[in-house]
Symmetry: C2
DNA sequence: TTGTACGCGTTATCAA
DNA sequence: TTGATAACGCGTACAA
């Protein structure tokens, strides 16, 4: 009773190369060749095939193709939180590269949860993505998931929140360099007495930004008295309190400019300055970090260091595609300089330009 | 010379069920059954298989599985612009549903370009996604792409920017109802003389919001004198000019409250009110639309209608998953009420609550 | 230029 | 409970 029955009356069945072949009177191979624009197909035959394909609404099955070619043209992306404003921008940067290179994106979000991230990685691997871009969840403490995936030959690139030293390429922002840039900008505009509102030094960005600030000052042989590095933490109130301490100094020993560890701290500091009856930037100039949405909306718009999210995604995707296509990058760490967004609070002429690289 | 040679020395080869089977001394079928937790496998056998699988780092090939099962557990998402703040939120809402239902997301962005959107749809179809969620690009003028996909049996759900009447489920915000809600809120707080700053009536949201405003007024038998509907367009300057016209009326004929077609128009209007030496909301109350980021940062924070992006994505994804799993929704249009975000500009007590549904 | 056989890794089906 | 076989739809390798 067993027999070939390729003509099942299944109306919901997708149209395959077989159908196009039958309709055109050629073999499936010729259909395949015509669809993929291989050279060795007679022009007339190709046209016939393509016409029939369009008429039948044939679309080549990428699943089958991926199975035989062992390549899905798909990249997995794992982000901790889609709505974090940094990540949509980064994804946009990723998308730009992958679109041009003919890859698609499977987007997963870990919701900052280590287990969910772990599951995402496993599934992406099972889906046989050609590579994975990942920004780690905060709760992750164990590298082994990444190491194992790498061990199985899955191309992996970290971006923004990276894991060094396990053989994966990392793309992130150079916080130290950014702090140095901001400080240099202030120095370049004649400020000499510059203070820093610092974050917690056990957090990497807190440390890096303080270091960058000091480096810039050292480079110009400018001294930083101990009372010019005040702990503020990452929030408004800390910035306010820290600034009050600086303002409590006798006028001639006060700073003329301030580098805040981030924008919220800067906002708090600005409030303290204005409350004290001083003007920004005339009496005290100030700069922050992160380009918080409020930065441009403040009464005195805040000069700040803007994380180049788009660029981070772009570079990470570029690196991954290169790895996939057999051109691994030289360095395993790619750091990006951030953008300095010049506004009124730093006292340079706005007409000089809105942004600088 | 042709012979079975399954033992090629290809070290880069992925480990397959075959490998696990060989190592365990069972057949691939048993491996398959054990991995998928089918009931009919001896407990000891299953354990043996699972152990071997873990040891070998075996991960089932979803590509092959998809091919035979004709199901990818993948949903395609097409958005016009990833960074538009509305969309990350919507995607987050989509992700919530798909994560729970075991689907993955292929994210594509059309960059508001009809051709790019078209390509994305074709490729998603070729990738054999189980369904597609789409918010159309602005430049799209031709429905046929969607109709054809639907004709081929691809489950399609539109969200936010929808296309009615071609047999696809649509999920969007009810602008008319939202305008009515905002107006009702003002009426409920005792305002009677309410004006509307309107958008262009050839644009659907301009029309819908005007209609909703009128409906609410009609419902309460409140008259709307012709001079109380002033064209403002969608931007600040239009709102400013429109408000100036209202303020040019003799004081007793002026409105006590204003419903603006969107937030920028409201900002312009607020500027005009303050310039005229009047207070918000004491002399004139005002409400807007869209929950622009500036709305909460204004000197007088603006009460506004907030598009529930998360909810739109959530509902659209839910509808699509239902369709995929054989439970098509009754209605082909699902409209969502927007959230009213109450702030100082409308004159109700903020202590009543920040948000209302 | 075109066609035939085979394999990609999995699951459904049926037999043992 | 387990195994052998035949798909799923395509591309590679070879033959015609």
């Amino acid at each position: 009773m067993k027999q070939k029955q390729s003509r099942q009356p299944d109306p919901a069945r997708r149209v395959t190369a077989q159908d196009v072949a039958k309709k055109t009177g050629v073999s499936v191979m010729t259909v395949s060749r015509a669809m993929n624009n291989r050279g060795n197909v007679d022009a007339a035959t190709r046209k016939k095939v393509l016409d029939a394909a369009r008429k039948l609404g044939y679309s080549p099955d990428h699943v089958a193709r991926s199975l035989v070619l062992r390549k899905t043209h798909t990249i997995g992306v794992v982000v901790p939180e889609i709505t974090h404003s940094f990540f949509p921008e980064a994804i946009r940067g990723i998308e730009e590269v992958t679109y041009r290179s003919g890859y698609h994106l499977i987007l997963t979000h870990s919701a900052e949860d280590a287990k969910r991230e772990h599951d995402a990685l496993r599934t992406l691997e099972s889906k046989r993505v050609d590579g994975i871009l990942i920004s780690t969840a905060q709760s992750v403490t164990d590298d082994s998931v990444y190491r194992e995936a790498i061990g199985r030959g899955v191309p992996l690139v970290f971006f923004d929140r990276v894991v060094r030293g396990i053989g994966a390429t990392c793309v992130s922002i150079d916080d130290k360099e950014s702090a140095r840039m901001l400080t240099n900008h202030l120095i370049g505009h004649g400020y000499r007495r510059i203070a820093h509102l610092s974050g917690p030094t056990r957090v990497s960005i807190g440390r890096a930004r303080l270091e960058g600030f000091r480096n810039a000052m050292d480079d110009h042989q400018l001294s930083v008295p101990p009372e010019f590095v005040v702990y503020s933490g990452f929030h408004e109130t800390g910035g306010y309190k820290a600034m009050r301490m600086l303002l409590a100094l006798p006028p001639e020993r006060r700073p003329r400019a301030v580098v805040a560890v981030n924008d919220p701290a800067a906002f708090g500091a600005m409030m303290a300055i204005l409350e004290a009856g001083l003007r920004i930037p005339d009496d005290i100039a100030i700069g922050g970090f992160s380009d918080d949405i409020r930065a441009s909306l403040m009464p005195i718009p805040l000069t700040t260091v803007c994380q180049p999210a788009y660029e981070v995604g772009n570079q990470a995707a570029q690196a991954l595609v290169n790895i996939i296509e057999g051109n691994p990058p030289q360095r395993d760490l790619i750091t990006l300089g951030a953008d300095l967004v010049l506004r009124r609070s730093c006292g340079c002429q706005p007409s000089e330009g809105i942004r600088r690289g």
